[in-house]
Amino acid sequence: MEEQLPQEYGPKWSDQRVERMLGALVVGVVGLLLAMIVTVFVRAWPSFSHNGLAWFGPGGNVDDQLNAIFLSGQNGLEYVYTFHGWPLIWSTILITGGAVAIGLFCALFVAVFIVEFAPEWMTNVLQPVIRFLASVPTVIYGLIGVVVLVPFIGNHLVTEPQKASVAGVISLTGYSLLAATLVLTVMITPLMVSIFSDGLRAVKPGWLEGSLALGVNRWRTTWKIGVRSARPAIVAGTVLAVARAIGEAVMLAMISGSVGFAPNPADGLIFIYEPSRPLAPTIVKNIDQLSSPPANATLFAIAAVLLFSAALFSLTGYVARRAMSKYGAA
């Protein structure tokens, strides 16, 4: 009589078969990513090919261009593709750069504090706080920005003469670079703090003890030895934060001001009160134009730029983390 084996020993769950099934799934996910990259770039191609490098340059009013592109697809006329995206790109650079710069400073100090200097009760408070801030949905940050921060900036920080000085060009209502940057900073700093503090914890104790034994105080030991040997973690965290910041769409659509305008730092400090609109929120704001073929191509072109830069940054983070494991500090 043949013995009845449990199902998992039968040919149905043999090792070769399981390996092949899992492998197929993995190949499928890799294929999905490749398909996504190809699809986005293929859809984006008409927009890029009509504009060439001028796509990335300045010229004209972006919002008018987007409108013309959309209408040309609706009316059965010849498709219009002319698009000069510099104001959107510049706004992305300003908001992301500002948030990451402030966030990097804050996150370094907070991570050092959590790992080295905070008393135990403070660590026990700070760690859940950081985890909480990292998990708050972006739309809640957007809501709080709209109802608290934006009116505050519009009513208390921007002065009447400042509003009057740019009245012909743009209206300063509080929807501004400043609001967007601050809220984005609060959003991405927790991400950096958690990666930084993992890196700082992984520093070899002997290195720190050697420095302490030489009579260097704990503050300088932490910064000269700890932070320096955790540099790969700092690069990785920063790069992930940049990728997250570039891709943030909904929160920025709510508080950046949604105007295709490039604030100019040469105008003086007033530029931080000026509204703008980064790349990702542009997609959200114009999402109902997908049915118009030229607008569809333009939105996919924006997505392609986002995809390219985000992929670039996250791959940099991956390489940095591999380097980190080579140093043994991971």
């Binding site: 043999s14 504090f113 909480f132 300088r220 769409a249 996250s314």
Partner: protein, 342 residues
């Protein structure tokens, strides 16, 4: 030679070794157990420490402010009947009903999204840790997961509009006159599962990697296959990590707005597909979630009902807080189980 007479030694008393500090003896101690105070530090160093304290307290203050602000506004504007009244068209906030459809939408999206992401993520992690051949494919897979984690969700959403508008996938959404609408709970959940996937893979891998080799060898030695070992030994052992990953992913699914705005249709109510049996008609239809509701009801949105936005945001925040607490509990339990001896 006279034999050297050793004088009788007094019995050596070993002084009791001082108890080593329990908390992380490998690190130079923190402020509380350090011999060194800050009195000898240069003023610059002390300013730096002050900045640390200030920033730490600032982030605590921000978190408290967010919770307290939404708590106050939520208590002021949340009425229990909002939770079971669907949104309606109206001119004032008292006429426009509640957000029950958004609440159920969030639950549907969460269940569907995690049902897709969890098996996929665990399978990928098992393949990476237990099989991982050929090595080149493993490297490519790692990079893929890394890349998916970095892709902005708005790009995922746009990609979703392309695949779910194809005729082949028309059965997942509404079709009228041969044109596939491409926006449905199926479409949104499928793309949202990609958002949760990297977190689940990372967490499961961490769990599998923490199981030492001899555990697997013991299982092989009694004749279990690799597949059986994975299913009966490895996965049950790293269940806490899998659950942590799943809950982190759930948090991201619940909190995502861009994919919902693009792939769930711009409605405030369920829009079930006619002529289809019960659960499928809703799942193939358009809908809304809490994040989308907050976005639309905020002062910059199309509805502009800030009071309802506060109420919905409060409910959403409660969900996130509950998830955070659950992650904490699982994490603590995982640590209590103890680590393997290597």
């Amino acid at each position: 030679m006279e034999p050297v007479q050793t004088p009788p030694q007094p019995p050596v008393t070993v002084p009791p070794t001082p108890p080593t500090p329990q908390r992380n003896p490998l690190r130079p101690g923190k402020k509380t157990d350090a011999a060194e105070g800050t009195a000898t530090w240069a003023p610059v160093d002390r300013v730096g420490l002050a900045i640390c304290w200030a920033l730490g307290l600032l982030f605590c203050a921000i978190a408290v402010a967010i919770v307290v602000y939404l708590l106050v506004q939520g208590i002021k504007f949340l009425r229990p009947e909002m939770l079971w009244t669907p949104a309606a068209a109206g001119f004032s906030e008292s006429e426009t009903g509640g957000f029950s459809d958004a609440l159920f939408g969030t639950l549907i999206v969460a269940v569907l999204g995690i049902a897709l992401a969890l098996p996929t993520g665990v399978a990928i992690a098992v393949w990476l840790v237990e099989y991982g051949r050929p090595a080149a494919l493993a490297r490519v897979t790692e990079m893929t997961i890394e890349a998916i984690a970095g892709i902005p969700s708005i790009v995922l959403a746009l990609f979703g509009t392309v695949i779910f508008s194809s005729t082949a996938l028309g059965f997942l959404s509404r079709t009228s006159e041969g044109v596939v609408f491409g926006r449905s709970f199926f479409a949104a959940s499928a793309m949202l599962s990609l958002v949760a996937l990297p977190l689940i893979v990372a967490s499961t891998r961490e769990g599998l990697n923490s199981i030492p080799r001899h555990v697997r060898e013991a299982s092989y030695a009694v004749g279990k296959t690799k597949a059986a070992t994975t299913r009966r030994i490895l996965l049950p052992t790293c269940r806490p990590q899998v659950m942590t990953g799943a809950m982190l992913g759930l948090g991201r699914i619940i909190g995502d707005t861009a994919i919902i705005v693009v792939l769930l249709g711009a409605t405030q109510n369920f829009a079930p597909v006619e002529g289809v049996g019960f659960p499928l008609d809703y799942l193939r239809g358009a809908g809304t979630t809490l994040t989308n509701f907050v976005y639309e009801a905020s002062p910059t949105g199309n509805l502009n009902q800030p009071q309802k936005a506060y109420a919905a945001a409060f409910v959403l925040l409660l969900m996130v807080l509950a998830l955070n607490a659950a992650v904490d509990v699982v994490h603590r339990r995982a640590r209590k189980v103890g680590t393997w001896s290597h």
